[in-house]
């Protein structure tokens, strides 16, 4: 693998389905360019896309910060959204509060957060109802010893 530390931020606009996936796609390319193994890139892409979509679906806006070092990629997505009243309920596969028009697009199946958890090494969610949600996850970039 090549490249030193790298960090940055993407700004996400709520309901902007036209650009949905843009941040995850460019982060995926960033990891590929650094020579990160394909299976790790795949896990990362799933988590990043689901996180980005959550912000687009539910929030007014969000900031997706990333930092990539030799050993780890870390993403923090802070959104200005409705907040999650019950995080463990939100983590339940199949549970969703998405409105009908979102479901008709094929989102809101209640698999987003479980998909993220399945693919990352660590994940934390903090949320304040009426203010927003911060989702943080990281994935080790080198195969575990």
């Amino acid at each position: 693998m090549t490249g030193g530390a790298d960090e940055g931020v993407y700004f996400i606009t709520g309901k902007d389905f036209t650009n949905a996936g843009a941040a995850s796609s460019s982060l995926k390319k960033l990891l590929e360019d650094r020579g990160v193994p394909a299976d790790i890139v795949r896990r990362f892409s799933i988590a990043a896309f689901e996180a980005e979509m959550n912000a687009i679906i539910y929030a007014v806006a969000g900031m997706m910060r990333y930092s990539i070092t030799r050993d780890m990629v870390k993403v923090t997505l802070q959104d200005m959204g409705p907040g999650i009243p019950d995080i463990s309920l939100a983590m339940t596969e199949g549970y969703s509060t998405a409105p009908d028009y979102i479901r008709e697009m094929g989102f809101g199946s209640g698999m987003g957060l479980p998909n993220i958890k399945k693919n990352v090494d660590h994940m934390t969610i903090t949320s304040v109802v009426g203010e927003g949600t911060t989702l943080e996850f990281d994935i080790a970039l080198s195969p575990s010893p």
Binding site: G21, A22, S25, I46, E50, M105, G106, F107, N115
Partner: protein, 113 residues
């Protein structure tokens, strides 16, 4: 199995001109839920769906899918087609419903390994 052989055999229509159809197809996945596809489809799969909005391209690109097969002659708007061509994701349509398309792909030997 090559994508172009599937297209020829099942008489599918390619909506995205100029893209490479020589890709090896490794399997198939049928779903209209994007998170389901993100979670379960694998690289090189064809994805059979009724969804036609822009985000299907992002999902296919992220997963490295071989193509998207739209059923029931679903039509895409110009912006989605342009994005598909830019991302190199072939979009293929069939007049048949999903059940028939999946059945024929299965008969050709395609599986969801």
């Amino acid at each position: 199995m090559k994508l172009k052989d599937i297209i020829d055999t099942l008489e599918l229509q390619v909506m995205t001109p100029g893209l490479n159809l020589d890709t090896e197809v490794t399997g198939g996945y049928a779903s209209d839920l994007l998170s389901d596809v993100i979670g379960h489809a694998k690289e090189g799969f064809v994805w059979i769906t009724f969804q036609v909005h822009l985000n299907i391209i992002a999902v296919a690109s992220l997963k490295g899918l071989a193509a998207i097969i739209l059923v029931n002659s679903r039509a895409l708007d110009e912006a989605t087609l342009k994005r598909a061509i830019a991302e190199g994701i072939p979009i293929i349509t069939s007049p048949l419903p999903a059940f028939e398309v999946v059945g024929r792909l299965y008969t050709l030997g395609l599986r969801c390994p």
